[in-house]
Symmetry: C2
Subunit: 520 residues, 2 copies
Amino acid sequence: MHREGGPLVMPRRSISFHFPSPTLDPAAAEPLHRQLYDEVRRAILTGQMAAGSRLPASRKLATRTRLSRNTVLAAYDQLIAEGFIEGRSGSGTFVARAVPEALVPQVPGLPPRPPGDSAKRALSKSTQRFCESVSLRHMARVEGEAFNPGLPALDHFPMDIWRRLSDRRLRNASPRMLAYDDPQGHLPLREAIASHMVDTRGARCTAEQVIIVSGSQNAIDLAARVLLDPGDEVWIEEPGYFAARIAFEMAGARVVPVPVDDEGLIVGEGVSTAPDARMAYVTPSHHNPTCVTMSLPRRMALLQWAEQAGGWIIEDDNASEFHYDGHPHAVLQGIDKHERTLYVGSFSKVLFASLRLGFIVAPRDLVPALVRAREFIDRQSPGWQQAVVADFMHEGHYSRHLRRMRGLYATRLSHFRSIAARFASDLFELPQRHGGMSHVAYFLAPMDDCAAAEAAYKAGVCCTPLSHYHSRPQGRPGLVLGFTCADAERATLAMQKLVAAVRPLRPLPPLVPSPFDPVE
Amino acid sequence: MHREGGPLVMPRRSISFHFPSPTLDPAAAEPLHRQLYDEVRRAILTGQMAAGSRLPASRKLATRTRLSRNTVLAAYDQLIAEGFIEGRSGSGTFVARAVPEALVPQVPGLPPRPPGDSAKRALSKSTQRFCESVSLRHMARVEGEAFNPGLPALDHFPMDIWRRLSDRRLRNASPRMLAYDDPQGHLPLREAIASHMVDTRGARCTAEQVIIVSGSQNAIDLAARVLLDPGDEVWIEEPGYFAARIAFEMAGARVVPVPVDDEGLIVGEGVSTAPDARMAYVTPSHHNPTCVTMSLPRRMALLQWAEQAGGWIIEDDNASEFHYDGHPHAVLQGIDKHERTLYVGSFSKVLFASLRLGFIVAPRDLVPALVRAREFIDRQSPGWQQAVVADFMHEGHYSRHLRRMRGLYATRLSHFRSIAARFASDLFELPQRHGGMSHVAYFLAPMDDCAAAEAAYKAGVCCTPLSHYHSRPQGRPGLVLGFTCADAERATLAMQKLVAAVRPLRPLPPLVPSPFDPVE
């Protein structure tokens, strides 16, 4: 190798480098100039052709490869445009001098996977904490199988109607439906939701307070981001919905577990533990997971706290359309005179989860900030799907389907309780239950409920251990079992499998006080 | 009013309260017991019936209202279940004692809107800053009209194919497609994206590195949340895409504008200003908005910085499938040996924006954290839509549509340049342009480009002022005009309207140094 010129000029190698002998295929879908471009580019990036090395003249290469000269020139032009090669007037074409050889991969293919302990290289601190603290085992997915909590009876979904409405919307698709639209959501859908909430759930709102999001999890995350600063306290129900807790933790909030009794969240406990909390997360219609309904006195106390402390209430109404003993409960939002409540609803349970549509009914003065944040987080929800759901509601299919599913799920709940009594009365105790889509089954003996859920999962039965709903380990062990997705036959089979899987597990020894425990 | 019992017993009023005289309608859709429930509930909440007051006995009310006694009992049962009324054995039914009168709204209907200055009551600090700093004027929506930047030719979208594929997926809908699925995204879609990226864009990835999100904005937000801590520095292009800047600011990051020249981001400037930045946001294929392609030396320098500083690169490839002079540029991700690059792609430009699907090609060791965060932010993207796009890609419709649109947009770009030259050569200067979907038009004279965009908008022409892309006011004034959505006729008309709207605006006086400016 010899040098020409001063130190600023790159070494120009002799012509003896290995130019790739292109194996070009005129029959391939890729045009020939693109194939040639790919060959040369790969040769440069893998180090086969070094920086500063000279490429064959286009005419010469054309002859050698039996391509037209225009094909070669097209490939070279593209490589020049992207900076891989340079033409120097009068002296030919060269691999760009400024491709530092050290940075160019020396071997084709992917580099070896970085070692395991670098898996957290440079995550944000909140993500590091989050990755350390969360187990996703309870998110295990078993397709459509009993007893998947919260999974509706998808085989009873009126797919023919949905197909017809979907296709009608596509046939008449307006640019507005396909392009960006109002980030707050499709107005006819917001109107349908507001009517439904006022007419059937006792809400007090207009379409202007409805914000379309992609589900209740998304609603909780959005509210947390817009309303909480890192370190702010949030009351959560104990036991309570774990995914909400995680969303608050992701926002940097400090969650304060507040116990739940048979009237719902014990507001007084929250007030004495964290009176200045910025937010309270509650499931007043049907507590998740125990299905307790929050009493009116507790509701009033909660609203009074929110007003006095300047706190916000997230009312998560998950699965509360399904009530089997009289009508669904009226919502907290409807009696909140001071607009401290953000009501969170979802279409995942009445329609289907992968639709990814839900909504917030927000205090009027929070709407602009929530919508603005949503716009810069993910612009809006899908336009076509919003339009289809709006049609589905306006044409009465929504309430009809809801009514049918209420009847079906009441039957399935009653069947579930009878098979639990028949097959599992020595294992579980089932409290009374009048709504929702899943059932808590408390173990009669002390038990590692995570191990039980794991054993059930291996036997093909999906459920969630109750301990996931506890932020402290003291909770009563149990399983949360969805009773809505499977018909009687499948549910019976699943109950038998579940019992067979769980019964062999050894109960934990009863908790006896240790002599070393502090005396109270 | 007289008291019975001790101080713990609520005052029991005489029976002379105004019980609502229900105007019940047997022909209404709502069942009669529900109508009665609503009447009583409203009376309680509006204070018409006070706490502790006695309700008529069910039999008596049935007679008075000509309802069956079962109807009345159904309404009472529901009110008892919800805590609005209480039955005391032997002594009748009463409005619950614990409805504190002070909290019950005294008048029906919504309370008056809180005064204007409370609009920010208790937003988080980051949201307050964000609401103060952001103008959304540039987000103004004009449906499908020229010159909406980034809006594709929706009337050329192969809707017949899309309808057929959509309906086929619904006809054979599996529970898995309708229920929750992998939060990382539908595997066949991730495979199709990985193939497309490797085969046509020079990426180096597998489907395991592809994460489906709801668009490029969502991808940027997700990356910022997972990788940045508040106060971390992020290089952004100056000028550059404002919505990305806002997403970083929402994550609490400190954005560092780094100038762009005709080789793209001046990496050396970034290194000297903020060497320890945690992230760099770049648009290397076509800089947004100027369409400059980042040179290979700059790409190499950027990768070298990222590797040495432990920084991350967000490569936003917005609209870069559309290149009219040779093939689309190869992506930066493909030459990043050390996996510091998160490539961000979107279906908004090739398919349609309201679809809300996009993707990240992530370094392999970041995938678990990104997916986990996504799961707790909004679970997943819509299942059915993902399946349809996967089919659309696997069956070749995607690349066929892309090819057709490349041809169409090249024609529209050339038409756009010719009408700009014909009608607006005294107003604008247009730099060369070989790709993307929008065109920068620089004003020849100093001009308030926000006022110009506003005037255009009022005349029915949509565009974005260039100053929105600047974080500092010194930028050259201009307009960003989308040339892809309108056909020749509409584009010509819009250009004439635009010129007519903008020409009457007075140019700003040239910038002369003030005697009070500090001497440099």
